[in-house]
Symmetry: C2
């Protein structure tokens, strides 16, 4: 049994309406899970190894519910183009390159290293339709100590020639081979990833549905991102009562199949009801929705209705892997939506955005997104000392400020399931932290 | 006569529709001004001292047309509050502290150091109503080598007790004393700064108008930021035909008085016409307008109408001093405005946003905002090598990517009027760069 503590200024989301902060508090980890947050180290645990992070902030690892790893190569580029031009000029030609394993390895190494450096500990990742490249990505993430779901993308129609899979059968066979090959990973798990209804034939969706039942896998896709796409889905799948129903009729829309749907900017009342009934998670991607001129999803309404939801960076329609930026954009866009579209839906607060980036998205993984007892021990230690101010700033305010100003902060250390995966004080990644803690509750880390 | 060159990947805005890039090109500086951009060093200047920045990007210094220095202490905080609560909870209590010179010095040192570290070379800055603190801010900026306008704020009504100046007469006397005391500065110049119509009596505006004529000063203020404010101004100044006219009738709205008006989110057709006729500069502050739920200014329309315009960070209603973030937000918000409000006004492009942050705002200072011949030599050298990609990225694309991802880039050096004011390779600020250049056109900087 491995047990240790970390100490610092702890901030976590109790619920959508409350952030709790504990100055110089302790979180104790036992076998990869938190056994609690304490103001003082309880008597029974005095003497366990403890790393004291001094005045640093300690927050739960952030959860990115929607990110496209192969698109990372062109983040921040081409966004003056409209969506279809953007897909044809950047996305599809880039994703085609991942049949070349050399290119895939180079690109996914950069993606993984940068994800490791971010405050994200868990992510739900789209790969490409290429089995080998996707396995390689999973291997890199696993080795780095990151956790998450990664999907080999399925697309057998309406795709560029270089990406379109030969047939539904081939797509499903490749998918099954990939699922079996990914059994060797423990923290990075496979997730079924039909790109979206327009690129997946009914036959392919049926085959994926069978794989879903056979292997008990979750699923991720895109939903109601913009109006022309919704119209297109209506034409492609006239049997479906709404876009979401086009997934549901194949059993890939929540219920027994845990599902994440990115965007949901224009979900109809019926679709919203269906998402709630089926427990579908919304991946709210505000920066992407601005960059591609899609619009602004009614995130506050989803929250208030009790729809499950987290945030996604949606790189490369979103420019940055920063989940802090995703939080800031979620708040800012909700204010613009309130002002420009619908004053019946209030803006998101900092407290709600932080909830979404931690517990909200974390729930997709089970007990993830908090440092409270019973949660998996995903923690990020942040040095915000470069964000200077002439006045005293409380821990709560330092967290709030960080959401807007993360570019001036440094990730000092990161833990996933109790294992320390980065240690930037030493400017390197550590594979195993056994014996590296400073012992005793009051020991300070040397500066 | 001082003459030298810098070499690198040069990017500048030719006009609103064109960015020019020159790989490994030269800019030559003579007595603080550019004498041109060259692909090869011309024969006549072979042998002048030249610092070769290798593969770095070299761009014109960025121009922040609207920023509140005293609010920097609470940037990124309190933005869940609505505007009036935000002013009363954060802004006014913070600004009151600047009557304490100790606090002002501490806070303005942080502001100046962080501005120095940013890509901004020129700024139009609001201080507080306190003369001494404002002079101290100017002195700090001057010493740091930054250029810009700084204003002692005027407010003699509708202000918190601690900030409201005793009378129009006292406000004007203090302002004149401040103007005279600021004569000692050369790069940091005074600008008349009535906070906005609601806080300035007619008598105060008349007195400022006289000072404007006596000293030939420019002016800056706020205009049509939100609808309730516009209504308030209508009540306060019934003689004015629009909010802008309430400045114009006192001679503080362009024409002989170069003027910057921040926001202009809800300017009426008449006001827009008046801004154009009077040559008023709009400081477009997209992040602030989102954070305070104000709305989105029709920036593209202003550009197309030939209205003079630049970008402002508007710290602390904007969270960050980063002008790159201001560019990204200008583009993103213009897309949301197009989608949600008015599809007759197209989104801003990267090219237009870069124009606004350089030449657009720079024009307020004269020949500023470019590296072309005749412009003042304000240049920023940027190391973007941490923004990695598996694919080749052109210089033009590196500039575009930087706008979205500046948090991953480093400002390596900064020049204002030909003087090098930062040199981050050496991690320090230099007061004078004479003799520091590496000589000869082909000499590389050691890594």
């Amino acid at each position: 049994m491995e047990r240790f503590a970390i100490r610092g200024n702890i901030c976590y989301s109790e619920n959508q309406k409350s952030i709790r902060t504990i100055e110089h508090g302790y979180v104790i980890c036992e076998d990869g899970k938190s056994i609690g947050i304490f103001e003082e180290l309880p008597e029974q645990w005095k003497g366990i190894s403890c790393r004291d992070y001094g005045d640093r902030l300690i927050i739960p690892g952030l959860v990115d519910l929607h990110v496209h790893a192969p698109q990372y190569s062109f983040r921040g580029l081409g966004m003056d183009l409209e969506r279809i031009d953007w897909l044809n000029t950047h996305t599809f030609p880039e994703e085609e390159k991942y049949q070349d394993s050399g290119y895939a390895k180079k690109a996914y190494t950069i993606f993984t290293e940068d994800l490791l450096r971010s405050a994200t500990t868990r992510a739900c990742v789209f790969g490409t339709c290429h089995k080998d490249a996707t396995l390689w990505l999973m291997e890199q993430m696993e080795k780095a100590g990151l956790a998450g779901y990664v999907g080999k993308v399925n697309m057998d129609r309406n795709s560029s020639q270089g990406l379109c899979e030969k047939s539904a059968e081939v797509s499903a066979e490749d998918t099954e081979a990939w699922i079996l090959a990914s059994e060797k990973f423990s923290n990075v798990r496979p997730i079924l990833t039909p790109r979206f209804i327009p690129t997946c034939s009914d036959e392919l969706m049926e085959r994926l549905s069978k794989l879903q039942k056979r292997y008990g896998l979750p699923a991720q896709s895109h939903l109601s991102e913009n109006l022309s796409e919704i119209e297109w889905v209506r034409e492609l799948q006239p049997k479906a009562s709404c876009y979401g129903d086009a997934y549901r009729i194949h059993g890939l829309f929540g219920g027994d199949c845990p599902t994440i749907m990115a965007h949901c900017v224009y979900s109809s009342e019926e679709e919203i009801r269906m998402m709630k009934e089926q427990g579908v998670f919304v991946a709210h991607c505000p920066e992407s929705n601005a960059n591609l001129s899609s619009g602004i999803a009614p995130a506050k309404r989803y929250l208030e209705m009790g729809i499950k939801m987290g945030l996604g960076t949606d790189v490369a329609a979103g420019s940055s892997l920063s989940m802090f930026r995703a939080m800031a954009m979620a708040i800012q866009c909700s204010k613009l939506r309130w002002r420009l579209t619908d004053q019946s839906i209030k803006p998101l607060t900092v407290t709600e955005a932080f909830y979404l980036a931690t517990k909200g998205g974390g729930e997709f993984f089970g007990a993830v997104g908090s440092l409270e007892a019973g949660y998996e021990f995903d923690a990020v230690v942040i040095d915000d000392s470069k964000i200077r101010s002439a006045r005293e700033v409380s821990v709560r305010d330092r967290l709030e400020r960080l959401i807007y100003l993360d570019q001036d902060a440094e990730i000092e250390a990161k833990y996933v399931k109790g294992k320390q995966i980065t240690d930037n004080r030493q400017r390197k990644t550590v594979g195993d932290n056994n014996g590296k803690y400073v012992s005793g509750e009051n020991s300070a880390v040397s500066e």
